[in-house]
């Protein structure tokens, strides 16, 4: 018998043939997810030392949910996230409609750029600038300061999926509605808005996750009494890593994961 023939000669260009790359992939996933797995696992540890396994239990979750300071921080995070999401999504929807359905107008390209620029500006720069701006104009609204700052940086995140959705919708739908006796407002209300809804949901979800996870800007802008969850977790770590941090981080991770899943489902193109 001759040597075994290569049966998949047709698959030239298929990177799956480079077997050694699998090792790289393994490393990639290990570095990405191993720390998170460890964190989640140790959040169920009953011991008082963060990294010494004693036994399985939800003691630390009970502690987290009875800790007034953590609950206050979580409440702040949710409130800021919710209001900032509503404001940012509304503004982003209006912006996306103007750019996709507003015809040609002067400064259209610039508007698009200005809308998405915050995505590439280093967050620390935005954070410092926001802090200086607020103190310069003497703005002191407590949570209001945080809400304004969060709304601003959430807009581009809300804007992108909404715009992508609108780009894929041709105006024939609205024309068909007007042809069937709908006024322009009715065409918007019954056709445009429902059709762009998956984009709006995706944008809102993304905004909420970004707001919930934000640390740098929140650290700069928050003051006593307006601490958000990530800022509070950071302050806890400075006093040494407690298993409580593992538990609250796991909760935050779970919430984000759920929201990103919603985003992913909502932004999937319709068949």
């Amino acid at each position: 018998m001759s040597a075994p023939r290569k049966t998949k000669a047709k698959g030239a260009g298929n990177v799956a043939h480079f077997k050694s790359l699998y090792v790289l992939v393994g490393f990639f996933y290990a570095f990405l997810y191993f720390p998170i797995i460890v964190l989640v696992a140790y959040s169920f540890n009953t011991g008082t030392r963060a990294m010494v396994w004693k036994g399985f239990g939800i003691d630390w979750y009970v502690k987290v949910f009875t800790n007034g300071a953590i609950l206050d921080a979580a409440k702040n995070s949710l409130l800021v996230g919710l209001i900032a999401t509503i404001l940012a999504t509304t503004i982003a929807t209006a912006g996306a409609l103007a750019l996709a359905r507003g015809g040609a107008f002067r400064g259209k390209g610039v508007s698009m750029g200005v809308m998405t620029l915050p995505l590439i500006v280093p967050e620390i720069v935005t954070a410092v600038a926001t802090l200086m701006f607020f103190s310069a104009i003497g703005l002191n609204l407590g949570l209001g300061n945080l809400i304004i700052a969060h709304t601003v940086f959430c807009i581009p995140f809300a804007f992108m999926p909404i715009r992508a959705r609108l780009e894929g919708m041709d105006t024939y739908m609205e024309q068909a509605a007007c042809d069937l006796y709908a006024t322009e407002w009715q065409a918007f209300r019954y056709i445009t808005l429902p059709m762009m809804m998956p984009g709006i949901i995706a944008g809102a979800t993304l905004s909420f996750v970004i707001s919930l996870d934000d640390f740098i800007i929140s650290l700069m802008v928050s003051s006593a009494g307006t601490t958000t969850l990530p800022v509070y977790i950071y302050s806890m770590i400075r006093n040494g890593i407690s298993p409580e941090v593992n538990a609250i981080s796991t909760v935050l991770f779970g919430v984000s994961l759920a929201l990103v899943t919603i985003y992913w489902i909502a932004s999937k193109p319709r068949k």
């Binding site: 024309q175 068909a176 007007c178 042809d179 069937l180 709908a182 019954y190 059709m195 319709r270």
Partner: protein, 358 residues
């Protein structure tokens, strides 16, 4: 004379410096299947969209059953459109799609449900009311789009190349259905297409358009057998066009002379005067091949193409003009075989000739 459904008067439409419609006038009659036919860019879709209200005309007037409508918004015109790509609302069921126009008109729920049911029956889609439109075939979406546009009982139905996205078999079946639908509903249909077969097989009358102008309006028979211009003759089907000068004419016959000097005597009077330079048109199926010296002119057979149902013979007149003759395979039975290079004569019935003045 039947009532006029849509009266288009001297419509002009500019897009910047481009003239899409150049002084178009048309009268479309009540209960007529009327087709706007022409190559892409001829202005047929612009004209349709002007009637629907999606384009604002630069000049001119449009009347719908006597009422002036060119300044009304689309939703104020009792006209519905079947769009080229259907434009069915993907987030609604079939029922809600069809009910959309009725709801906007403020019909009662009971009436809406009744009409939707009738419309689904009309297009033979009774069981599809609760389905969504995303996974339907092209033919099914086409029917839903028709039902949706017909449900509000518009005074005129506009159809913007609705068959172009379907495959050949389905397209042919839908032609018959559209024609039947028009007869059953009694609604005036204005149909836009670039496909001459579609136009010929369905329409009561056709307007052939090119370069933003109407070239000719007539029944399919008139358009095909009595084209008035070179464009119309050439656009519809195969044809033979010869540039000629009228050399002599009297009450009973006319003598045409080609540029190359071939004379054609035809037993028919003409309205044109001696010396007029025109073109004459004879369809290949009307050209008969006879023995040399026995026809209206002599020619040499240069090519034969066999297509199964028909054969096309190409011949050259003595001045080099190419003439094509089409024979159905049935007519060829028992005819003597001809070889390339044979001398033949060509003949045609006098009334199959059309004079093209432009």
């Amino acid at each position: 004379m039947a009532e006029i459904a849509v009266d288009v008067q001297n419509i002009v439409k500019h897009y910047g410096s481009f003239v899409a419609l150049n002084d178009v006038s048309l009268s479309i009659q009540d209960n007529e299947f009327f087709t706007l036919l022409g190559p892409s860019g001829c202005g047929k879709t612009t004209l349709l969209r002007s009637i629907a209200g999606f384009e604002e005309v630069t000049e001119g007037k449009i009347f719908l059953y006597g009422e002036e409508i060119e300044d009304l918004a689309p939703h104020q015109r009792p006209i519905n459109t079947v769009f080229q790509h259907y434009a069915l609302f993907p987030h609604m069921t079939v029922h809600d799609n069809i009910a959309f126009g009725l709801k906007r008109l403020g019909k009662s729920q009971a009436e809406i449900d009744k009409t939707v049911k009738e419309m689904l029956a009309l297009v033979q889609m009774e069981d599809f009311g609760n389905r969504r439109t995303n996974n339907m075939s092209g033919g099914q979406m086409q029917r839903i789009a028709l039902a949706r546009a017909l449900a509000p009982k518009p005074k005129v139905l506009l159809l913007d190349e609705p068959l172009s996205a379907l495959d050949l078999k389905l397209r042919q079946a839908m032609r018959d259905e559209l024609q039947k639908l028009q007869r059953d509903t009694g609604i005036t249909f204005i149909f836009v297409t670039h496909d001459q077969d579609e136009a010929m097989s369905m329409s009561d009358r056709i307007a052939v358009m090119s370069n933003g102008q109407v070239q000719q309006v007539g029944t399919p028979d008139e358009i095909y057998n009595r084209p008035k211009s070179r464009f119309v003759a050439d656009f519809i089907g195969d044809t033979n066009i010869v540039d000629v000068t009228i050399e002599a004419t009297d009450a009973k016959s006319t003598l045409y002379r080609s540029k190359g000097g071939v004379g054609l005597q035809v037993e028919r009077a003409t309205d044109l005067t001696v010396g007029a330079e025109i073109s004459i048109n004879v369809r290949p199926e009307n050209v008969v091949i006879v023995d040399a010296g026995k026809g209206r002119a002599d020619a040499t057979l240069t090519h034969k193409s066999f297509f199964g149902r028909t054969s096309i013979y190409s011949m050259e007149l003595n001045d080099g003009t190419l003439i094509k003759s089409r024979y159905s395979s049935r007519d060829e039975l028992g005819r003597k075989e001809m070889a390339i290079g044979d001398s033949v004569g060509i003949d045609f019935a006098a009334d199959t000739l059309a004079e093209l003045t432009s």
